[in-house]
Amino acid sequence: MQQFEFSDISRILTPILARHGGDASRLLQVLLEVQDVCHFIPSKAIDLIAAHFGVPRVNVEGVVGFYSFLSTHPVGEYRLLFSGNITDQMLGKDELMQYLCNKLWVEPGKVSEDGLVSIASTSCTGMCDQGPAALINGWPLTKLDHNRLDLIAELIRSRKPVADWPAMLFEVADNIHRGDVLLGQPSEPGAAIRATLARGAKETLAEVDKSNLRGRGGAGFKTASKWSFCHAAIAEEEGGIICDVGGHPERFIVCNADEGEPGTFKDRVLLNSYADLVFEGMTVGARVVGASKGFLYLRGEYRYLLQQLEAVLKRRREAGLLGENILGQTDFSFDIEIHLGAGAYICGEESALIESLEGKRGRPRNRPPFPVTYGYKGRPTVVDNVETFACAAKIAEKGGAWFAAIGTAQSTGTKLISVSGDVARPGIYEYPFGVTVSQILDDCGAEGRSYAVQVSGPSGTTISWKEFERKIAFEDLPTAGALMVFRRKRDLFQAAQNFADFFAHESCGFCTPCRVGTELQKKIMSKIASGYGTASDLEELKRLGHILKTMSHCGLGSSAANPVLDILEKFPDMVESKLKAFAFKPAFDLDGALATARTITGRDDDWAHL
C-alpha cells in the first residue's frame, strides 16, 4: 500500500490547486486529478483542499464519498473496472472478470496485496456495442476476450504505464449502421451560427418552436419552451436584479453528456465524430437565450474523449466560432468549458448535474424552481441533451419547417438508437420518429428470434415479442436512445436483477423511499435468483414498486421499479419458475452461513449444523 508523506501530498496538490483557482465549483475536477496521481484521495489531501477552497472538510469528504470513481482508500496502481451492464454480462463479463482475477491473484472488489491492481464492476461504460468492456485507470477497453485479458495481465505484471499499452486495446468504433439527417448529412462548421446571426435570435427561436423539437434525453420537453423560459427568466440576488432580458447575460448553456443510462451510447458517437455539430447547437442556444458561458458535462467514463474535444474547442475558437465576438459580431461572446463527471448515474438528472457542476454531491434539487430560472449558481440555465443540441444546430441551419416534416406529429425529427444485445450488427441507427421496433430489429439483424426488448434502458420499458409493432415516438414508446435486445431462452429475470442492482448502486441516498426501496428490491430479487423466493416475495415486490414510484424524490427512484414490475407483468412465468412451492423459505442457506465459523473453530458437532 502506498504511503504518502504530508510534504509529498502538498507537493502534488500545489500545482493542481493553483491551476484550478479558488472557485469551489472546481472541487470535483481537483479531486479527479488527485485520484489520478495518488490512486486515492489521502486524508491529508482532503484537509489541504478544504483549506484551499475555504469549505468545511466534511463537504470535501461528502463529494469524495459520493462519486464512485473517487475513493478514500488506495485502489491499486491499475484499477480495472468491468462494465456491469446486462449486455456485457450476456457477452460473458462475469466469467472473464473471474478469469483475470485468477490470473492476477486478486479477489473481485479488492486490491491485490502489493497494491498493484484492483478489479471490480462498475455501471455501464457505454460500450455495449463492443463489449465486454472495461475501464483501466479511466481508459476504455473494448471487445475483451481471453487473449486480450492474457495480454492485459502481462502488461500489468510488467508494470507498463497504461499510456504505453498497445492502441488496439483501446479502439472504440462508432458502428454507425444507419444515418439520416443528423449523421448522414455533413454540416459545414459555422453554418448554423451564420444562419442564426443572419436570421436573428428571436427568429431562430421561432424556427426551433416551429420545428417542435423535443428533448432527446428521454423526457421530451419542448426545447423552444425551455429556451424561451430561460431567455425570459430574471435572476435576483441580494435584492438586486443581476440579469434581465437584454441586460447582463448571466445565463448558462449546459450540454448533458452524462450518458449513464445502461445501453445508451449515442452521445459517445456524437461527441467522437460530430462534436462540431453539438458545440454549434450550444452556440446557437447561447445566442437565443443570451448566454455567454456554456458547459459540457462529460461523464467520467468518456474521459478519453476529453483531449480531442478540447482540440475541437480550440479549433473553433481559432476559427472565430467561439470566444469573444463570434464571427465578428461584437455583441456575441460565448465559450464552452468541459466539466468531468466521476461515475454517478444520477448526475444525468438536470438539477443533480448542476449541483455536480458546482463541485458538490450530485443530489437532485427540489423543483420548482426549475433550472431555466434557477440553475447553475442560481442563474437561468438551459440543460439539454447532446443530441438535442445537434438537432438544434440542424434546425438553425435548415429551418423549422424542414425538421417538422420528418417524424410524427408529436415527435418530429429523427432519433439515434443505440442497439445492443442479441443482434448481428449492434451500433447506432438513426431513424425518423415513428419507426417500429420490428423494423429496427430487422435492420440490425435480430432475425425475428427476439423475445424481449428493453427500450430506453433500465428506467424505460420492457416490451415482449407481442409488442414489436409499437413505435419509437413520444406518443408510444419514448426513449433516450437505448434498445437492448434479448433472444429466446435468455434469462430475462437475470436482466431485471441486473437492473435492480444498478438502481440500488446508483441511488444517491438522499430520500428514504429510494435509498431503502432500491436496496430491498435488490435483496428480494437476489433471494429469488438464488432459489429462496416464494409467492409472498412477488407481492412484496409489487408493494415496494408502488412505494418507489409514488414516494421518491426524483426520477431515479420513481423508475427504479420499472424493469421488475414489467417482468412481473409481461413475463410472469420467467419469475414463477424460480419460486419455491413453500409458503416460506429462509432468505439464505442457514447451514452454509455457519461454514466459516466451523472452519475457524474446527467444530463439526451436531450443534455446529442447522
Binding site: 409472498s536 429462509p586 432468505a587 452461513a593 466459516t596 465459523a597 467444530r603 450443534w607
Partner: protein
C-alpha cells in the same frame, strides 16, 4: 401526550383467543391469551421498554399469561397466541429459538430495530468473521494461549447477523430502538382486542 397513551383499563378482551393453545388450569371460563417473549441478538432494551408500560402491567396480566419470557424463566416456548421476538439472528442457537417460537406462536412479532433490520449487532456484518475471532481471542486481551474456543455448548456464529424475517415468516413488525412503552401497549391492546394493530405517527418517530 396523545390520546393513544391513555391509561384506561383494557378494552374488551379477545373473545376466545388461542383455541388449542395450552391454557393454564388457573385460568377460568375466560381463556387468557398466552404470550411468549425472547431476546436473540439484542440488548433486552425492548424488554425494558415493555416494562415501561408500568402499572398497566396489572391490567395486562388480567388478560394474558406468560409462557417463555424473562418474567417466568421458562426455558422452552410452548403453544402460544403471541410471540414477541427482540433481536436479530446471529448464531445457530438463535435459529433454534426462533423456529421454536414460530412453531408455537400463532402470531409472531418482530419487536425493535435489531429484530427488524439486524440493528447494532449487524454492524459486524462489514467485518470478516476471521478478523472478529482473531481480534477477540488471539490478539491482546484474548484468551490464554490465544485459543479460539470450540466447545459444542457455545452457539456457533453466522457470517453475518440477519433480521428475523429472513429466517421465519414474521406477522408484524413493531419498529423502534426500542419502541416506546406506549407503542408496545398500543400494539398489544390492538392485537388483544382483535383490531389490526396500527401505530400513529407519534408512536413511530423518535426525534
Amino acid at each position: 401526550m396523545s390520546e393513544n397513551s391513555d391509561r384506561s383499563p383494557l378494552p374488551n378482551p379477545l373473545p376466545q383467543a388461542g383455541e388449542g393453545a395450552a391454557v393454564s388450569p388457573a385460568c377460568d371460563a375466560l381463556k387468557k391469551t398466552r404470550i411468549a417473549t425472547c431476546s436473540l441478538a439484542g440488548c433486552f432494551g425492548c424488554h425494558m421498554s415493555f416494562l415501561d408500560i408500568d402499572e398497566r402491567l396489572f391490567g395486562l396480566i388480567e388478560l394474558v399469561e406468560f409462557d417463555r419470557s424473562p418474567l417466568t424463566d421458562i426455558k422452552h416456548c410452548g403453544p402460544c397466541d403471541i410471540g414477541l421476538v427482540e433481536g436479530g439472528v446471529c448464531n445457530a442457537e438463535n435459529v433454534h429459538v426462533l423456529k421454536e417460537f414460530r412453531k408455537n406462536c400463532k402470531v409472531l412479532v418482530a419487536i425493535g430495530a435489531c429484530a427488524i433490520n439486524g440493528g447494532v449487532p449487524a454492524m459486524r456484518n462489514n467485518i470478516d468473521l476471521w478478523d472478529c475471532f482473531q481480534e477477540v481471542y488471539c490478539y491482546e486481551g484474548g484468551l490464554e494461549c490465544g485459543q479460539i474456543p470450540n466447545d459444542p455448548e457455545l452457539p456457533l456464529p453466522f457470517d453475518k447477523v440477519h433480521p428475523i424475517y429472513e429466517v421465519v415468516k414474521v406477522d408484524y413488525f413493531l419498529p423502534g430502538c426500542p419502541p416506546s412503552g406506549d407503542a408496545i401497549w398500543n400494539f398489544l391492546t390492538d392485537l388483544l382486542s382483535g383490531r389490526e394493530p396500527k401505530l400513529d405517527y407519534e408512536m413511530l418517530h423518535f426525534d
